[in-house]
C-alpha cells in the first residue's frame, strides 16, 4: 500500500552532502517539496 495524499508523510533523517543530518519532521510549519532524483547521467 503506497503512501498517498492525505496520509502523514513518512518521516526520515538523512545526511546532506556536507554530512549534516536533515529530518523531515523538524521542518513542520512550512511546506516541503521532496524531489527524489531519478538516474539520468
Amino acid at each position: 500500500m503506497s503512501v498517498q495524499p492525505g496520509d502523514r508523510a513518512p518521516d526520515f533523517d538523512l545526511p546532506d552532502d556536507d554530512g549534516e543530518w536533515w529530518r523531515l519532521s523538524a521542518h513542520q510549519g512550512q511546506p516541503v517539496l521532496l524531489v527524489f532524483h531519478r538516474h539520468l547521467a
Binding site: 538523512l14 545526511p15 546532506d16 556536507d18 516541503v32 517539496l33 527524489f36 532524483h37
Partner: protein
C-alpha cells in the same frame, strides 16, 4: 526547476539522491544549488515513498533516448552510469502539518511533473 526556486517562496525544497555519500561531498556547492542535497544510500526512504525500479523498456524508452540526445546536443557531459539506472524518482509535497498533499511517481527517468503543477501544490500546502 532550479532557475525558478524563488517562486517556491518559504517552502523548503530538498533533493534526495541515492548517490554514495562520498561521491556527493560538496555537490551542492559545486553546482551552486540553493537547497539541501540528501543521500539515501540504502534507498529505504525511496521504498517508504513507494519509488521502485523500472523495467528496462521503461528506462531505455524513446523519450529517454531523446532526452540524452538533447543533453548531448546542448553540450552536456554525459558520463557512464555508475548507479542503478533503473531506480525511478518522484516528487512529493508535504504541508505545514506534515501531511502529504501531492505525489508524482515517475514512469521513466525523464518523466517529471510540470513546475507549474509543483508550484500549485506548494501554494495549496501553506
Amino acid at each position: 526547476m532550479s532557475d525558478r526556486l524563488d517562486e517556491f517562496g518559504d517552502a523548503r525544497v530538498v533533493l534526495i539522491t541515492f548517490t554514495r555519500a562520498r561521491n556527493l561531498r560538496g555537490f551542492r556547492h559545486r553546482l551552486g544549488l540553493g537547497y539541501p542535497v540528501l543521500t539515501d544510500e540504502t534507498r529505504d526512504v525511496y521504498r517508504e515513498y513507494s519509488l521502485g525500479r523500472g523495467a528496462w523498456r521503461q528506462i531505455w524508452s524513446l523519450p529517454t533516448l531523446r532526452t540524452y540526445r538533447r543533453l548531448l546536443r546542448a553540450g552536456e557531459r554525459v558520463s557512464r552510469p555508475t548507479e542503478d539506472t533503473r531506480q525511478l524518482g518522484g516528487d512529493f509535497v508535504v504541508d505545514s502539518e506534515g501531511v502529504l498533499v501531492y505525489s508524482y511517481r515517475s514512469q521513466r527517468p525523464d518523466d517529471r511533473p510540470p513546475v507549474e503543477q509543483l508550484l500549485e501544490a506548494v501554494r495549496s500546502a501553506r
